[in-house]
């Protein structure tokens, strides 16, 4: 028979993806020529992009450690990306080998890669799903198998909500996850803003417009609003390097050059 046309798209390494772009910016090698081409444009629009990526990744690490210190032992990492250095399960399981992590991404290569990495880890898994459809994740059997929703969960959304268009109602999406987890759970959000470097941000938006992951920066107020139902922990929603830096010198001279807001909230 003819192959009929309802079959999903094939994996196309000719089409750059945010996951692989991010990997490249972090100095990773898990990327293809098309991703590096996009990265070059990205770097032209925002020369500080590597720093921004690094600071975002560092925030992710610090927020996970903060949650571990607060007693959280389970993590739901939405938009986890290509496993690169300092993955959530590595951070968490280094602190407590019994920590459980569910990664979520919708990009096939990121998912396949995560599967390889997690092959022998029965406390971490990856679910291929669209985070804007919370039920598909919250009700996924793998999620249910690994996470106990009666106990606090660290919900991580580092560097992903700028891929969610306003039309998808990010607030409703965040609320769905927040409502699903137990009180005392934590929510981490980091996302691009135009508050700091409007010109560069506009350039990034332009570059990403025709990729499979267009971007939507958000203002301070919009990001704070996503934390509804949570108490935002100190120091609030700030530029990534300013979020609980591990040493005074570690925070760079011009923190707002990080271009990304970050914050952590605790569900009431």
């Amino acid at each position: 028979m003819e192959r009929v046309a309802w079959v999903p798209d094939d994996v196309d390494e000719g089409l750059p993806s945010a996951a692989r772009l991010y990997d490249y910016l972090l100095g990773g090698g898990h990327n293809f020529a098309a991703d590096r081409e996009l990265a070059a444009k990205f770097l032209k629009a925002q020369p500080n992009a590597r720093n921004i990526a690094r600071e975002n990744r560092a925030f992710l690490r610090r927020s996970v450690l903060f949650m571990i210190e607060s007693g959280v032992r389970q993590f739901l990492d939405l938009g986890s990306g290509i496993p690169t250095v300092g993955n959530v399960h590595e951070i968490a399981q280094k602190a407590d080998p019994d920590a459980h992590v569910v990664y979520v991404d919708y990009e096939e290569v990121a998912v396949a890669h995560s599967k390889l990495l997690l092959e022998n880890n029965d406390r971490a898994t990856i679910v291929q799903a669209d985070l804007t459809v919370p039920e598909s994740i919250l009700e996924h059997p793998d999620t249910r198998a690994l996470l106990d929703f009666d106990r606090p969960i660290g919900v991580l959304t580092a560097g992903v909500f700028h891929f969610v268009s306003p039309a998808k109602e990010p607030k409703r999406i965040v609320a769905a996850y927040r409502d699903a987890v137990a009180p005392g759970s934590y929510l981490a959000i980091s996302q691009f803003t135009a508050d700091f470097m409007p010109e560069e941000m506009a350039g990034i938006v332009e570059v990403m417009k025709n990729s499979r992951d267009p971007m939507f920066p958000r203002s301070y107020d919009e990001i704070l609003d996503l934390f509804e139902g949570c108490d935002v922990v100190e120091p609030g929603v700030v530029a990534t390097p300013l979020w609980r830096p591990e040493s005074v010198t570690a925070a760079s001279d011009e923190p707002t050059r990080a271009g990304i807001y970050a914050g952590v909230g605790r569900k009431r």
Partner: protein
């Protein structure tokens, strides 16, 4: 404890120097790459490397070997940014050359260059290896990802294949022009064909013309995205010419860009379901033995036939002497006979828009909706009877079947089904009463009259009040010489729509509405007044005044008083009137009827009995009550004027008996000279009817009397 013999102090100083170098190193590479460690961890990690380098520099003999691994350790910890090595070499070179580790070292610069070279080459090798590993990883990931997709695809394709091949649901995949690209075996089976012969065919061809347009619109709406899926009952043409009843579920297939490419039509065969439903409803609507429509179904079809403009005729057939067959030959034979009758009735109306039903044990009904070629009722009766008359051979016995037929021809559209069936039934009873193989047509005009009657009854009171009702006088003629010897006062009603309502109907209406007493009284007074006038005019030649009383009037307790009062008031002699009481009412002693008759007679008021049927007790009553006259009932009159001389002679006897009792015999409703002759021939004294004169207004009576 450090096994060094140089003491605590120099060791601590060296530690501090090495720590400072590690910090400087960390700071130099900090923004070249992301290392998932805290700043402290980074320092510690680098400090261990500084130790290795320092120890190698000062070792005797000098051996750069332990340093070769540093590149790998850096890369493994992700100190692997594009500028990381450059910055590393810069920091290490400067520090190691100008802040010597441990006192003066032989050929320090040479050693430093050698060490840094080893770090750099180890780093390069590690980086190449790492890049290779990562590319391998990503390729494997990519491959896996593709395989996953492939697998999902293969699985779904295999699953689809399997579903497609084994499904009991018919599946057709058509392109946007409606051409069938793929069809499965189930669909082929539903359509009684081969799946290979479906491919390439237009799906349209399978549809019925009446459904095509609707479905086209639906297929279009699906393509336009107006509809997601469509599910409906429908019909498909089978290759063997039969119809397949199906559920159709249609959805659209789109390519990766969302453009519609195909339609998938799922076809679920519900023909059997349909047939079953048919069968069930058939069972509910049909007689199990004969397969004919049952009474309920017949009634509902009758109802819809009545609602349609084509006139209908209803034939109600009752088999003659069916119980004889049933009892004599057994039920099995009886059942077979009924089946045969059913088939014959169907044959009889073949070609007509007709429905044959078995509506009870041995009774059938035939509904015929008229077409221009429909036979007349009489022809149809003959056809039905001829069809049945063919002898039926049951167990070698020839049995002749016949039936009585009651017919209702062209019933009015508004008639109730129950009334219609009742009418047919009563016609059948009438036919059967006349013997075998008889038929009778229901006189729907009676019925029509009945409806008119009740309408009139409703408006009678108003009519009386507004003067539409008047008293008329119909002459009674002596048959021997044709002289008008009496007039009967009758009430007539000149109805705006219906014309003149006959006196008989008028009195029946009055009786039904309870108005007969006041109307009767009113008529009595009016008539007596007139009679008195005529008496004044004609003296002895004045006609006797007849008044026929209804049963209610006859039994009225006030009758005697009212009559006497009126006679007194008008000065009319009591013998000038004939108050005719209802024979039935008197015999049944309805109210005071019997007493009234006796008292009136006793007080000299002329009396009569009407509706006189000639029965024994009636004749007895006549003798007993000294009644002066009697008015024969219409039924008796019909027998007298009918074609049966024997009957007439018998009634002649009755008239003679009445004469013996000194009663005058009168007959009403005489419309022809012949009828008048026949009445006269058996001794009837007086006659009234259209042959002589209709009811007339009082003004015309004197002229009539004068004229004769």
């Amino acid at each position: 404890m450090t096994p060094s013999g140089e003491g605590q102090q120099p060791h601590d100083a060296r530690r501090q120097r090495r720590l400072a170098l590690a910090r400087a190193w960390a700071a130099a590479v900090a923004d070249t790459t992301y290392v998932p460690m805290s700043p402290r961890e980074i320092e510690e990690y680098l400090l261990a490397l500084v130790d290795r380098i320092g120890d190698a520099l000062s070792a005797e003999p000098f051996d750069p070997e332990p340093v070769a691994e540093i590149g790998t350790l850096l890369v493994r910890a992700h100190f692997s940014g594009p500028e990381t090595l450059e910055r590393t070499l810069d920091v290490l070179g400067r520090t190691l050359l100008f802040n010597p580790e441990t006192g003066p070292v032989d050929r320090l610069a040479e050693r430093v260059v050698t060490v840094l070279g080893a770090v750099a080459s180890g780093y390069a090798t590690a980086m190449r290896q790492d890049a290779f590993d990562q590319q391998e990883e990503i390729k494997r990931a990519l491959l896996n990802a593709k395989n996953d997709v492939e697998r999902v695809l293969k699985v779904s394709e295999a699953r689809f294949r399997q579903v497609f091949a084994t499904s009991a649901v018919g599946i057709a995949i058509t392109d946007l022009t409606g051409r069938c690209v793929e069809a499965n075996a189930a669909l082929a089976e539903i359509l009684a064909t081969e799946s290979s012969s479906l491919v390439g065919r237009q799906f349209d061809e399978l549809l019925y013309a009446t459904d095509t347009d609707g479905l086209h619109a639906i297929y279009r709406d699906l393509v336009d995205g107006v509809l997601d899926t469509y599910r409906e009952r429908g019909r498909l043409r089978r290759d063997d010419g039969e119809t397949a009843w199906v559920y159709l579920a249609v959805s659209v297939l789109r390519d990766a860009d969302g453009n519609p490419t195909h339609h998938v039509t799922m076809v679920e065969d519900i023909t059997e379901l349909h047939l079953l439903a048919d069968q069930l409803s058939h069972q509910a609507l049909h007689d199990a033995l004969t397969g004919l429509a049952n009474r309920q179904y017949f009634a509902s079809r009758l109802e819809s036939a009545l609602g349609s403009p084509a006139p209908i005729t209803l034939y109600h057939l009752g088999l003659d002497a069916f119980s004889v067959v049933n009892h004599g030959l057994g039920h099995d034979v009886g059942d077979r006979l009924l089946k045969i009758v059913a088939r014959r009735l169907e044959a009889a109306v073949q070609g007509e828009r007709a429905l044959v039903a078995r509506i009870s044990g041995d009774e059938f009904a035939v509904l015929v909706q008229h077409s221009p070629t429909t036979p007349s009722v009489l022809d149809m009766i003959r056809i039905l009877q001829d069809e049945l008359a063919e002898p039926v051979y049951l167990d070698d016995q020839g049995v002749a079947v016949s039936a009585g037929i009651g017919v209702v021809d062209q019933p009015p559209a508004g008639i109730e089904i129950a009334d219609l069936l009742r009418a047919a039934n009563s016609a059948l009873r009438r036919a059967k009463a006349n013997g075998k193989r008889q038929w009778s047509i229901y006189e729907q005009r009676e019925d029509e009259a009945e409806r008119v009657r009740s309408r009139l009854a409703a408006v009678l009171p108003g009519a009386w009040e507004s003067g539409e009702i008047s008293v008329a006088y119909q002459p009674m003629v002596r048959l021997t010489d044709g002289r008008i010897v009496g007039v009967e006062a009758v009430i007539t009603w000149e109805h705006a729509e219906h014309g003149v309502v006959s006196p008989r109907d008028c009195m029946r209406l009055a009786e039904d509405t309870g108005l007969s007493l006041p109307i009767g009284l009113w008529a009595l007074e009016a008539a007596c007044g007139r009679a008195r006038e005529w008496q004044d005019l004609f003296g002895d030649g004045a006609p006797t005044l007849w008044l026929r009383l209804t049963p209610l009037q006859s039994g009225d307790a006030d009758l005697v008083g009212a009559v006497r009062q009126t006679l007194a008031d008008t000065g009319l002699g009591p013998s000038a009137v004939r108050i005719a009481l209802d024979t039935g009412a008197v015999l049944a002693e309805l109210g005071d009827a019997a007493d009234n008759l006796r008292v009136l007679a006793d007080t000299g008021v002329g009396t009569a009995l009407h509706e006189f049927g000639g029965a024994h007790q009636e004749l007895g009553l006549l003798v007993e009550s000294k009644t002066q006259a009697l008015l024969l009932s219409p039924a008796v009159v019909r027998e007298i004027v009918g074609n049966t001389p024997a009957l007439r002679r018998a009634l002649g006897e009755m008239v003679s008996v009445a004469h013996l009792a000194e009663g005058v015999v009168a007959a009403a409703g005489i419309d022809t000279a012949e009828q008048a002759d026949r009445c006269r021939s058996i001794g009837v004294d007086l006659a009234q009817g259209a042959h002589f004169a209709p009811p007339l207004p009082p003004e015309q009576i004197p002229a009539l009397l004068n004229g004769v």
